[in-house]
Symmetry: C2
Subunit: 285 residues, 2 copies
């Protein structure tokens, strides 16, 4: 099929390169930055640039740009596509995107819409850091918008073809609630954690904790600002909750309440074991 | 030389096994738990049990038990040792330990004292999880107590013989200040992070952030309670600071202050890059 990719950044570029390398699909692409297009061309991330002619023949469109730009692109696109074409995106938030898709679906019932969030990324952004192994063993989350079964299968198959291991179907609301915790809060914590004046002294003083806790601090500030603002309510809930939990430890330590501190730590061990156990069960299902 | 190890847990057991496997030193050991001694014997972590006779011939004593038990053991040991013997420990806090060593040095000037903190560990404790590769590429920190050069070299060589890559010499105070951040705060954050009700939903919703942020939540509650309480002042400072930083992000998000949020995130990126750059420079020195 003809696959159009908007945005030749880390995600769009990696999707393009992997499709070109491992499948028979034909990739057309574009990016507002000409130098990204040039690099993408050299890295073999697409076959042809998108124009008014070829976009009308695309079977599947993947929008891989920042959340706010995605909303803008979504407005323009459906009018250019053929009947039955599928529009999807790769944003890390889904409520804003999917509700826009729902609006558009009413206007363009002949176009299929589907939200996708591939659970893959790196601490670097841009086409220069794209790889053809980014999606290996990754999960991807889909949030359907009254999507027909054929379109669903088309997208699922493509993500599996480029290496994804499993798919999770979720409502946009559930997606955003869980992602606020598993991914967004982690980025906020890493970014906060690295701000201690002690961060520059870390070398030789850690067996990995510092590295783990600060890995994702090296994020793309503009994109993550958009992601955080698009998920404000759930994210604020998680930050507040984490601050409350940290305060419990702080209080137990400052009050030298040994029993309470040991209880708090034991509870943490149990929660971690429970979370890991559920994940294992899901994998073996 | 004859090396005595008190405590056949994860650290003591791994040290014993690695010495027995990779060196010609003779290891004598003990543990208050007979079943740990039996497992340690089966895993080849020592040659002979410590008794009143052989301990008097030990060249080096490594105390690898919890901080409070270490303080107790330190009281008993010097009287049993020969002239020039070295007493060291493996605790994750150094001020309490080293100040006790300093007291004892005045009473037993013929014994050498030296604090050690091998930067190696696992999310599991006990001899059953010991390995002979635990110290590979690890750093270890030493905090001398008017230690003679011969004793210093003896200990450094041993830790290099069992696989350690580098040694950092630090005052107990500096050690505790940096460790409060690089290791202890990471454990508090992991333990707090995993407490969100969303932790049980994480499967399929992360590309690794959840795993990174919660890896060390699976700690040994009793030992870490002792470590945290022994480093109360510096740890409280770090927790308070992290809560302040988290609150800045929270405020920017709740006030929809895009510019401020992007500034906070950019500052995090710079701090992370700076910390990593300094670490690389130290390695290449």
């Amino acid at each position: 099929m003809i696959i159009a990719i908007y945005g030749m950044g880390l995600i769009g570029g990696s999707i393009g390169r992997t499709i070109v390398k491992n499948t028979k699909h034909y990739v057309i692409a574009c990016d507002i930055d000409p130098s990204s297009m040039l690099k993408a061309k050299m890295l073999g991330a697409y076959h042809e640039e998108i124009d008014d002619n070829n976009i009308s023949r695309a079977d599947l469109v993947i929008i891989a740009v920042n959340p706010y730009q995605t909303l803008n692109l979504l407005e323009e696109l459906p009018a250019k596509l053929k009947r039955g074409a599928v529009i999807t995106d790769t944003c890390g938030v889904k409520r804003t995107i999917v509700s826009k898709m729902e609006e558009l679906k009413k206007i363009y019932p002949e176009v299929e819409f589907l939200g996708v969030h591939p659970m893959a990324g790196r601490e670097f952004s841009g086409i220069a850091h794209s790889t053809t192994s980014l999606f290996e063993k990754a999960y991807f989350i889909i949030t359907p918008v009254h999507t027909g079964i054929e379109a669903l299968v088309k997208v699922k198959n493509l993500f599996k073809e480029i290496g994804c291991e499993g798919v999770v179907t979720a409502s946009a609301d559930y997606h955003d609630k869980v992602i606020a915790y598993t991914s967004q809060l982690a980025h906020i914590v890493s970014s906060s954690y690295v701000k201690s004046p002690m961060s520059k002294e870390h070398h030789g003083f850690s067996a990995g904790s510092f590295k783990d806790l600060t890995r994702v601090a090296k994020l793309n500030p503009n994109m993550w600002t958009q992601l955080f603002m698009s998920n404000k309510d759930y994210l604020l809930e998680e930050i507040s909750q984490l601050i409350e939990h940290l305060s419990e430890y702080k209080e137990a330590i400052s009050g030298e309440n040994f029993q309470e501190l040991e209880r708090l730590l034991s509870e943490g061990v149990k929660r971690k074991e429970y979370a890991d156990k559920l994940a294992k069960e899901k994998i073996s299902e």
